[in-house]
Symmetry: C2
Subunit: 191 residues, 2 copies
């Protein structure tokens, strides 16, 4: 059964996000991403005339959008229960993937393109981080935290979840993630 | 003035760590690293017969050793003042590099080799994270924290400093790093 051609651009973006999270910005190629997405190469070049940097920036933005939508839904229950559910979901993802699941937004943030070009994926990652941070800060304000503390907690959540995922991937062990999750919930519950 | 040949392996390892932190595992090549180190290519192949994976694992370990030595020195003053100095040093590094400074250990942790080989750099990153975590936990125990809480705080410090560096690099702004640093010091000072 051949995948639908009209879905090809979306499949290519999803495949790009996966490959970005796994092998990084520089090792992700339009050719490999298109193959992974089972899409025609000509269609990828047609839909992403800006090439790899454009495609990876879109993949970063869309991966960020998905997490943003999830966060907004979970945070409706309140900052602490929402954070708790979010951490549980990341925990499951790490275990299910045998510690291969990673974050394409982090990958876009930490890797400079080898070609000396301005990194569009990095700029996309910056916007994504700022949006996540804003929603988390709002939720902490809703929970009664003062604005400055809420903003600080929000940045701590993003930074430490990204870092904890990286530590657990390196160690192939859920322990660092669990330790960080417990510390974050403690900080979020405190005044 | 030609650099000394006897220093070549050390210069190659340092250059590998720099390139790993900047462009990631897969985009780092033996050829480029050797050029950056101003070393002869034949000598690099001679000193690192295991090739790129071996070289990047050594670079990850040595970068980790340097941070470990620094941490041990700073933590002698106590966990909180030591952490404070460590955060100040990272802050300076980010600003001085115009947000290009990154961590080779994180890069080794989050990127899988495109060739389907076991990642020696990832294994090296795991050992480095475990050593940093152990020293920080000891320092927090010395400060009066219970062992479980000390271990949790230690993992939180590593995860969130790695994540905060990535956020500040993405946003080209010191604000996320400063917010995370303030939250970490608050958590470290609390009981």
């Amino acid at each position: 059964m051949s995948p639908r051609a009209s879905d090809a651009p979306q499949r290519v973006i999803d495949a790009a996000a996966q490959m970005l999270a796994r092998v990084g910005l520089n090792a992700t190629s339009i050719r490999e991403v298109t193959k992974l997405a089972d899409a025609p190469l000509g269609s990828t070049y047609h839909h992403f005339p800006g090439g790899k940097q454009e495609l990876l920036a879109k993949a970063t933005t869309l991966a960020g959008d998905k997490v943003e939508a999830l966060l907004l839904e979970l945070l409706r229950e309140g900052a602490v229960p929402g954070l708790e559910r979010f951490l549980e979901m990341w925990r499951e993802r790490l275990l299910r993937s045998q510690f291969r699941a990673g974050c394409p937004v982090l990958a876009a943030a930490v890797e400079e393109p080898v070609e000396a070009v301005a990194s569009q994926p990095r700029a996309a990652a910056a916007e994504v981080f700022a949006r996540w941070q804003g929603h988390l800060a709002q939720a902490f304000i809703g929970d009664g935290h003062a604005p400055e503390q809420a903003a600080g907690l929000a940045s701590l959540v993003i930074a430490s979840v990204e870092g904890a995922v990286a530590m657990s991937r390196a160690l192939q062990d859920i322990a660092p993630f669990d330790q960080v999750a417990a510390q974050l919930l403690k900080a979020a519950r405190a005044g």
